[in-house]
Structures are given as C-alpha cells and as structure tokens.
Amino acid sequence: MPIACEETGRALTVRVEGEIDHHAARQLMEELSRRLDAALPKSLTLDLGGVAFMDSSGIALVLRAYRRMVALRGSVTLQNVPDQAAKVLKAAGVDRLLPWNE
C-alpha cells in the first residue's frame, strides 16, 4: 500500500493509494503513525484521491489519524475523497467530524 508525503513547515500532506481494506490497513496504519511521529505536524491533510476502494477499515484509519492529531493539538482535513470512500465515511459520520475539501 503506497503512501506519499509532502511536508511544508508544520503542514503534512499524506497521499494514500490503492484499496484500503483490513488486508492493507495494518501496514498503512503503521506507516501513517510513523510519519506523524516523525513530522509532529500542526495540520494533516489526508489526500484520498488515489483510493480505489475503502471499507470500514478505512474509517478506523482516519479516526486513528484524527485522534493522534487531537493529541498533537492539530487538525485533519480530508481531500479528493472518491465517491465510494465518501459514502463509507459518511455512513460513519466522519464528514461531521472533519473538514472535507471536495
């Protein structure tokens, strides 16, 4: 599961690609945690533009990033969320928790 990062000052953008299911989630979680611990950003943008499929494993991933950023007194924004992932995240109310750039 490839992820790519871009850091500008204390702002971190993480681009996630591929299919986010339980099979892929563990590695993705570890990778994301590692990047957050290294960058300690004030704001995190999760760019989901390359996500071909997401199930509830993706909800847990986004919520974990959210909790980590709350602990860092920072914020999380979702970006380029594809329709299928948007429907899953909205079913869990994640759209009411986080700012969301279409």
């Binding site: 299919e19 299911d21 339980h22 099979h23 989630a25 563990r26 979680m29 499929f53 199930d55 509830s56 494993s57 909800i59 847990a60 919520l63 974990r64 329709d83 299928q84 429907k87 899953v88 079913a91 869990a92």
Partner: protein, 145 residues
C-alpha cells in the same frame, strides 16, 4: 422464487481473500448490468461480511468461508457469507452502530454499512457453530436508449 443463476466459492480466512471475494461478487453481479455505484455498494457490503469472518469468526486460526451468490428473476442479487467460527452471542447488540469487540483497529460500523448499502441484511448465528449473513440488493433495470 427459483434463482436463474448461482455460484458458490469456498476459501480460507486469509486477509488476501477479502479483495478476491468482493471482486468475485462484482463479476457475478456484472450480468445484471449494474451502475458503478451499485457495483461499489455490493463490493463494500461483501468486504464487510468477509472481513468479519476473517477478523472475528476465526480470530486465531484459519477456517473456511463460503460465499454463495444467487441471481433471481426480479433482478435481485442475494449474497450469503457463511463461516463456521465462534459465532455471535447477541446479534442485536452486534448490529448496533459502533459496537465492536475488535479494539482500536475496528470501528464497529461493518453491519451498519451493510445495512445502509443493501436492501436487506439477515444475520443468523450460533455461538460455537458459526454465522451466516445474507445480503440482498435489487439492481435497477436499465433500458438502452
């Protein structure tokens, strides 16, 4: 009503089979000429049901999962996901949004997603025997032109 087509797959509870199962269901559904949204709904619900077998039904051993796909004359797709794992002691509680025995890696939203993406979700379970989840979704008929 008798099905007009049926397929049955049996596979091990390896997480690599999550993608296999939802793709197989999508391929079977393709004969109904579904929209992309309809295919994605089916894939998402199957992914939830199969992941539950892998994560919860067989927590520390491999077991078999049966995926049965049926197509009915009224354009209804029926998907049955069956395991012979630990079972669910209280199905109503398990179906409650956010309820999970899975810890921080799980969100407790699997059944809620199946319910909102499918027309009907039926769960039968016996502790120590296993769980059968039946998903139904009617695919809209599309006419050319």
């Amino acid at each position: 009503m008798k099905p007009v087509n049926e397929a049955k797959l049996t596979f091990w509870s390896r997480s690599a089979n999550e993608g296999f199962a939802r793709t197989a269901a999508a391929c079977f559904a393709a004969q109904l000429d579904p929209t992309l949204d309809e295919v994605n709904d089916v894939k998402t619900a199957v992914s939830e049901a199969v992941t539950n077998c892998i994560v919860h039904a067989y927590p520390d051993q491999l077991g078999l999962i049966v995926l049965r796909l049926r197509l009915y004359p009224d354009n209804t797709l029926e998907i049955v996901v069956k395991d012979s794992g630990v079972g669910i002691p209280d199905v109503d509680q398990a179906r409650t949004p956010l309820w999970s025995t899975g810890g921080a890696d799980r969100s407790g939203m699997g059944f809620t997603i199946m319910e909102s993406f499918m027309d009907a979700v039926k769960v039968r379970s016996r502790p120590g025997k296993g769980t059968t989840v039946t998903l139904r979704r009617r695919i809209a008929r599309r006419f050319p032109g």
